[in-house]
Symmetry: D2
Amino acid sequence: MEVEELVERLRSFAQVRDWEQFHNPKNLVMALTGEVGELAELFQWLTPAESARVMDDPGSAERVRHEIADVLAYLLRLADVLQVDVVSALADKITVNEAKYPVDLARGSAAKYDQL
Amino acid sequence: MEVEELVERLRSFAQVRDWEQFHNPKNLVMALTGEVGELAELFQWLTPAESARVMDDPGSAERVRHEIADVLAYLLRLADVLQVDVVSALADKITVNEAKYPVDLARGSAAKYDQL
Amino acid sequence: MEVEELVERLRSFAQVRDWEQFHNPKNLVMALTGEVGELAELFQWLTPAESARVMDDPGSAERVRHEIADVLAYLLRLADVLQVDVVSALADKITVNEAKYPVDLARGSAAKYDQL
Amino acid sequence: MEVEELVERLRSFAQVRDWEQFHNPKNLVMALTGEVGELAELFQWLTPAESARVMDDPGSAERVRHEIADVLAYLLRLADVLQVDVVSALADKITVNEAKYPVDLARGSAAKYDQL
């Protein structure tokens, strides 16, 4: 429900501005790329330890929160135009990965861990 | 609730595999980048019109659904380790953007439309 | 020689600013990601046909030229710190791909064309 | 000359396979995104220190070298179809940045260092 509500607000936001003409999947994937790039810029010069403290500073916390929101926005728009239910898509993927990466074999190793 | 449930499944998935050591924000942003890159590869040679029909073929539909799930997975993991509530972050962002892009001025123009 | 000269100017640029401390490969890959994201933002709402005319407008031509330069800058910095000779790396890759994608089989089809 | 030779080999590679139809700037930017994503995947779980030793292992050195080559390939193809001279674009950018980041002010600080 909560995700569906965001999806509907985003759809309506685009509709009333006549921006649906720009929101084909190809364009939305590019827009998603751009937003992830902005997120990367916030972290690029930080050490891993610094990255873990990024929310301690109110200014950088706000920027990170905004960029995460932007990434989610385009991901939900993309899923909406493709009629993908993101929640069930991810739930299914987790189930698949639980089988793919058995706890005993995967423990503590990033070696074969290319994907979630 | 539904998002929180996914967040908890992902957290537990990492915990039991002792993968939390790899899940600092910097690493997760890079992993997000990688997944968005895989999504881009599915769309790179398609025309916008072809991209809109990508779900018609069961094989490509499955691949797109998986990649969208992977992007969401890392985005939720990132938000979790940063203690960002993605749903409220996006809800707030939409409210801000509704003021920033007034319907009358924004209609039909992508000109100043850098961000959602 | 011309690429080596750029590599040396970039190295010196970082050295005299004491920025080499930030230029480990992981950080440089993230910086590259950020710049490619900025490039993507310039093209995200354009149709393929519009993208082919992007240099007709002096303002957008300048932005595209700058972003391409930024991407190349971080790619050359990355290759430099890893001691990769980019020119020979690409020359070798083209030779490999000429064998991998025989002209007769590959002609006009993007089907199996995931990578250059 | 050496870059121009690579540009010409890449152009010819695309021409004889009739792949120029796919190589509009929008598509090439997406392809570049995909390749940078593959590069990010090689570094995502490494610490900065591990990333600095990535060439010590012959297998990972080979993968990194290939991905750097792929990124350069699409960057050069993009510049070619846009008729951008990448070498002079970057040389100009470095000159601009030398003025923008004076050595005395910039030394040792990544603070305002968003771009090279």
